[in-house]
């Protein structure tokens, strides 16, 4: 416990997750599928102070398995929020200047309405009765939250990976509410390779007999399936070099007595990450959210340039990482190219890193340099 307090001294201290509920009949949330969701709760956290004219807000959006707890500590937990090194006093997103909001997504399992939520019509968890959601639906829901805080225009929307997709969707769905956008390590649409990895994860979950067509709440969850899905995910988040550096071919100290027990540290690590993940994530949420990002296509079958013409007043900073093979730099360059053709102000940097896709969570110093200077430039204009 002492250690936690030591850490919090330098950072934001204790923070708490808040909940915003809307969409009670007759104002249900209309989804892209045509279905309606009601009521809708979004978990979110805020840091810093909203100024009087509510013009200093930044919205942070999280990746596939992230949540609203982006910075600071929750009492009793030893790790801070998932982007704590980027959000705080004097950090990339400086809470001395900005009011930072991080919103969870619908379909998730960290306090927002999703398949594990109680369906008011049946008084049982939704399970597969939960409607299919899209990235656009996630963003539409977030727009209710932002408006409820009295904010008409966000200084910036920023996020990596799936968070970056939400960023892009924000600039297209609500261009008048966004001054600047920072999509990081992301894509305007998934490639077949990205869809393929997600499909293996989904198949692993659905092949687990505990999954039971999504009807497992109150019983044994499909732990082994979800764990395998997470292991595949982790492989794609790292790089050959980062795995080499982290594990090499080192063997585990404790070796199980079964023939095919893990020998190498990398095997043990993946199992550990998988086992930990099932404690904090819902398998159905994993299915719904991966499907949403696989179906995400900002172009809607048209040209990306046309899409960005609607967002021509938004200023972009696009960041990619050289060793990211899950969301390769060429996908960021497609976004940059479309911005340029649409005459949208865009800066692009391709940062050196060996961390692979995880770099957006780990390469703090370089991202801070570009984000700080970008926010300073656009606020001077």
């Amino acid at each position: 416990m002492t250690k936690i307090i030591e850490n919090t001294d330098k950072g934001l201290g204790f923070v708490e997750t808040k909940y915003f509920t809307f969409g009670n009949p007759p104002d249900e949330l209309k989804l892209e599928s045509g279905e309606k969701l009601s009521p809708v709760t979004l978990a979110y956290e805020t840091y810093g102070t909203l100024n009087e004219d509510k013009s200093n807000a930044i919205l942070i959006l999280h990746a596939l398995t992230g949540n609203a707890h982006v910075a600071g500590y929750h009492p009793g937990e030893k790790d801070p929020g998932w982007w704590d090194n980027m959000i705080g006093h004097g950090k990339a997103f400086d809470i001395d200047k900005y009011f930072v909001i991080c919103s969870n997504v619908i379909g998730g399992c960290h306090g927002s309405t999703g398949p594990s939520t109680i369906n008011p019509k049946t008084n049982r968890p939704y399970g597969l009765d939960f409607p299919l959601i899209t990235v656009k639906d996630m963003v539409t829901a977030q727009s209710y939250l932002v408006k409820s805080l009295g904010i008409k225009k966000l200084v910036c929307v920023a996020g990596g990976s799936m968070g970056g997709m939400q960023v892009l969707q924000w600039t297209v769905s609500f261009p008048e509410m966004v001054a600047t956008a920072i999509p990081i390590a992301t894509s305007a649409r998934h490639s077949p390779q990205q869809i393929a990895f997600n499909e293996v994860g989904r198949q692993a979950i659905m092949a687990d007999s505990n999954w039971n067509d999504g009807n497992y709440y109150g019983k044994s969850a499909p732990r082994s399936g979800l764990s395998v899905a997470r292991m595949i995910g982790h492989i794609t988040y790292m790089s050959d070099v980062s795995m080499g550096e982290k594990f090499g071919r080192r063997v585990k100290e404790e070796h199980g007595d079964k023939k095919f027990s893990p020998d190498f540290e990398v095997e043990g690590y993946l199992q550990y990450r998988g086992d930990n993940f099932v404690k904090r994530f819902d398998a159905n949420s994993y299915l719904y959210i991966t499907k949403a990002i696989d179906r995400f296509d900002l172009t809607n079958g048209g040209s990306l340039e046309k899409v960005f013409k609607a967002a021509s007043a938004v200023k972009f900073l696009v960041i990619a990482f050289k060793s990211d093979w899950l969301y390769p730099a060429y996908q960021s360059k497609e976004i940059v190219r479309a911005c340029k053709q649409a005459q949208v102000d865009v800066s692009y940097c391709e940062l050196n890193s060996t961390y692979g896709h995880d770099a957006f969570l780990l390469e703090v110093e370089e991202q801070e340099h570009f984000i700080k200077n970008f926010l300073r430039r656009v606020s001077d204009e």
Binding site: K340, Q343, S347, C349, N352, H369, F370, R377, D380
Partner: protein, 206 residues
């Protein structure tokens, strides 16, 4: 585009940059190819209030551009230019990078597509000191504007002012203005002998 850094003293700016500043009217849109650490773009923003962007491949230079508040894309010139639509900028600058471009002709064509006018600055390979080094020293010349030894030069093309003039004639490019520079002096006579650097303002002939 602006930042809170102080406005540079124009008298301390090197002549090459002052010559380029003179070519660009206030409020223009400018793309600087191979913009380095953004020094020239920053001057243009501060003094000429331009709307500018840069393309630069070197990560350290891109980092410095960000500090200056310059909008820059980390790309190579050859692939980066194709991202832009026709006539996206009033001016495209290719200063001291022309000689390092692999597909020079293709890039020149692209600059003239993307910009209404193009400013090209390059070192004159047949500057008189180079000629002396070659003829009397028997060595590949090393001068302030071509400072590298033969084994570590980034330059792929070696051209003279007369070469470039002939090229513009052949390709029907109109030379609207040209400035010849030797260090801190403007050269008026026999530029192909006495100028270290030529700065050309060109456009497609109508």
């Amino acid at each position: 585009m602006s930042n809170n850094l102080p406005i540079p003293d124009i008298k301390k700016v090197k002549l090459e940059y002052r010559a380029i500043l003179d070519l660009i009217p206030t409020g223009s849109s400018v793309l600087d190819l191979g913009c380095g650490d953004g020094e020239l773009l920053n001057l243009l923003v501060k003094i000429k209030n331009i709307r500018g962007s840069g393309i630069e491949i070197d990560p350290e230079a891109v980092r410095k551009c960000a500090s200056l508040g310059i909008s820059v894309s980390q790309q190579d010139i050859e692939s980066g230019l194709s991202d832009y639509g026709d006539r996206s900028f009033d001016f495209v600058i290719l200063n001291q990078s022309l000689q390092q471009v692999v597909k020079l002709e293709a890039v020149l064509k692209e600059t003239l597509r993307v910009g209404n006018k193009v400013i090209i600055g390059f070192p004159n390979f047949v500057y008189y000191k180079s000629r002396l080094q070659m003829v009397f020293g028997g060595r590949t010349p090393v001068t302030p504007s071509l400072p590298n030894m033969w084994y570590d030069t980034p330059n792929l093309h070696f051209l003279s002012i007369t070469d470039f003039q002939a090229y513009c004639r052949d390709r029907h490019l109109e030379i609207e203005k040209v400035i010849y520079i030797d260090g801190n002096r403007r050269i008026k006579f026999f530029p192909n002998v006495f100028a270290q650097t030529g700065i050309f303002l060109i456009k497609n002939q109508k």
